[in-house]
């Protein structure tokens, strides 16, 4: 029996040295070559097959000249092949850069042009969209994976050498590439598995897209320990997800709050009879209604229900809170709890650390999980990563406080960054992108409630309303679907005085009012200073 990595739960494994990142699947493959490792409902791979495929892809990458430090971009898809790719890249010492394949081509092209990947691997069959470097399509990937490759030693990473880059929304109008080192990731594995407690018997429900760092938590971490992972790629509908949880005998469920809420439904489907194996439910990435978490805790008292928190910049997850029991009287969200082992945290207000319960300040998170920095944005890195007493801290911009038990509670943001269905969206990025269209003089972006949830609303100030369809197609070229406004309103430039923000605030308040009494997606400002719905056909006809 080969030892598992030191982040295993079994104390017998704790003394082993951590494997090289590119070797994290070797132990399970040697121990259980024929055991099911990953399945997406259509195809599956055993641990032996996974390791063979890693060798094959690493061999091919190496033939393409991929060397330590080289970036390899993936146009990702939720499927069984995906976990092979980061491990193969790490075996070569490269930097794994998963991108959202559903992003508009212009956005993807701009990201690729920035990171200059040596290789781009597309999990779909699109034509190449990046002229430099080597392009690998799905058919070729399938062919490479089917031929066994040579065994090769794994590359070693220098202390500050990045292992992956994940893109996240940025206020400047350009996505920010968060660079996480191999040392960050190995520390994360050890720190977080103390809470997750994946064992070789675990069966994990993986629903996070691969361009989202939780996919490392719900796929690569459990696979490194010999656990089974189901890649859920079907409709995010409650009945389907619950049926799959039961059918796959899932023990560990990790889902952003929006998805957990959908899975919960009216709560009647969450019972020990339907989910006999479920040991842990972890949610986070956005504020979760305590009633949703209460359903799981009260229906499945023996199951650990955990609220997790972590900016991409501090390697996936850095805080967690386990519900001691369902608190049915609770109206505010559960705390994000305490830092993981190896993570340090302070709440800072006006340059001073605060520790009195209830006092709010900005959460700073420090220690071994703090990112290397933002790719090609040293000024942004210098602004947000600060050293205090020899420890590097990331300034999260999240406003937090301590509760009476010493747990940290998330209170809100100090800027216009929002979470929509678990995705981090900087409203400033949408605003900057809208301003990039000629004819748009000013723009305001806000969340507005509609149909029981918040949607993005954009107000453009321009000479004429016919700018609306142009701005919409401009945004569709540059922003992923979830960042595009559901409501677009036009205001003539004359109505705005020079003071900026307050006027924008007033306009947004008026739009919010107008949106209450109309389900239209378009509004225009009348001479009387109120927003009135505009006909969709009228707007389309402006083109």
């Amino acid at each position: 029996m080969n030892p598992l990595p030191p982040w295993a739960i079994d104390a017998a494994d704790h003394a082993t040295a951590p494997p090289a990142l590119g070797d994290i699947l070797k132990g399970p493959a040697a121990n259980w070559p024929d055991r099911d490792a990953v399945n997406d409902g259509r195809t599956g791979l055993t641990f032996g097959q996974l390791e063979d495929a890693v060798r094959a892809v690493a061999g091919w990458l190496s033939e393409q000249g991929v060397e330590p430090g080289d970036r390899v971009a993936i146009l990702a898809e939720k499927c069984t092949l995906m976990p092979i790719l980061p491990v193969a890249i790490w075996r070569c010492g490269g930097v794994y850069v998963p991108c959202d394949a559903t992003s508009p081509p212009a956005r993807l092209r701009a990201m690729l042009a920035r990171i200059e990947p040596r290789v781009v691997i597309a999990l779909d069959d699109r034509d190449p969209i990046y002229p430099h470097g080597q392009w690998l399509g799905r058919e070729q990937l399938d062919a490479i994976v089917s031929v066994p490759g040579p065994s090769r030693p794994s590359a070693m990473y220098a202390r500050d050498q990045p292992a992956y880059i994940m893109f996240t929304s940025g206020s400047t109008g350009e996505p920010k590439g968060v660079e996480i080192t191999a040392a960050n990731l190995l520390a994360y594995f050890r720190n977080h598995n103390e809470v997750l407690r994946f064992t070789p018997e675990a069966r994990v429900f993986s629903v996070a897209p691969f361009h989202f760092d939780v996919s490392i938590e719900d796929t690569l971490l459990p696979l490194s320990l010999g656990a089974y992972v189901f890649q859920f790629r079907s409709l995010h509908a409650g009945p389907i997800m619950r049926a799959v949880l039961a059918r796959e005998r899932i023990t560990h469920l990790i889902a952003v709050s929006t998805l957990l809420t959908i899975m919960t439904g009216d709560g009647s489907g969450i019972t020990r009879k339907t989910l006999p194996s479920l040991e842990m439910v972890m949610t986070g990435a956005e504020v979760c209604d305590p009633a949703v978490m209460n359903v799981w805790k009260s229906s499945l008292p023996g199951t650990r229900v955990i609220n997790a928190y972590g900016p991409t910049e501090v390697t996936i997850v850095c805080f967690s809170y386990e519900l001691p029991r369902a608190d049915d009287d609770r109206r505010t969200s559960y705390p994000i709890g305490r830092p993981l082992r190896g993570v340090e945290a302070k709440i800072m207000a006006d340059g001073v650390e605060v520790d009195a319960p209830g006092r709010t300040g900005e959460l700073w998170v420090g220690g071994e999980q703090v990112m290397r920095g933002y790719f090609d944005q040293p000024d942004e890195t210098a602004r947000l990563v600060v050293e205090v007493g020899g420890v590097r801290y990331y300034r999260t911009g999240d406003i937090c406080s301590y509760d009476g038990d010493g747990n940290v509670v998330f209170e809100g943001r100090d800027d216009d960054e929002v979470k929509l269905a678990g995705r981090r969206v900087h409203l400033g990025e949408i605003r900057q992108t809208a301003l990039g269209h000629p004819g748009v003089e000013r723009a305001a972006v806000a969340l507005i409630p509609r149909g029981g949830r918040d949607v993005i609303a954009l107000i453009v100030m321009a000479a004429a309303a016919d700018v609306i369809p142009e701005v919409e197609s401009h945004l569709a070229n540059l922003l992923p679907e979830y960042m595009r406004p559901a409501l677009v309103a036009w205001s003539p430039s004359l109505s705005v005085s020079s003071t900026g923000k307050t006027d924008e605030g007033r306009l947004i308040a008026r739009l919010r009012e107008a949106a209450k009494s109309s389900s239209s997606g378009y509004f225009g400002l009348t001479e009387g200073g109120d927003f009135e719905p505009m006909d969709e056909e009228t707007v389309c006809a402006m083109q």
Binding site: A237, R247, T258, G451, R453, Y482, R484, A486, S519
Partner: protein, 84 residues
């Protein structure tokens, strides 16, 4: 059959969007977000459709994927209608 599929789908989409919608002029590659449908609305529409057609969604767990274009939605609607 083709018209019946469009008719049923447009009734459900109108309810989801809360406004009238004319599918007759639209091509199958029309992106759903251009109609104002995000993924959450799309999925709730499909759940309603499956209920109306008496389809057990869970039996389709491994074949359904989140539709991106009108044609994908029409294909799923047709699949539901055939199995009712």
């Amino acid at each position: 059959m083709r018209d019946a599929v469009r008719e049923l789908l447009s009734a459900h989409l109108e309810e989801a969007l809360g406004r009238p919608l004319d599918l007759t002029e639209m091509t199958e590659d029309t992106a759903l977000d251009a109609l104002g449908l995000d993924s959450l609305l799309t999925i709730s529409t499909l759940v309603d459709l499956s209920e109306e057609c008496g389809v057990d969604l869970t039996e389709h767990a491994d074949t359904l994927e989140t539709p991106q274009a009108l044609g994908d939605l029409l294909a799923i609607t047709a699949q539901f209608m055939e199995s009712r």
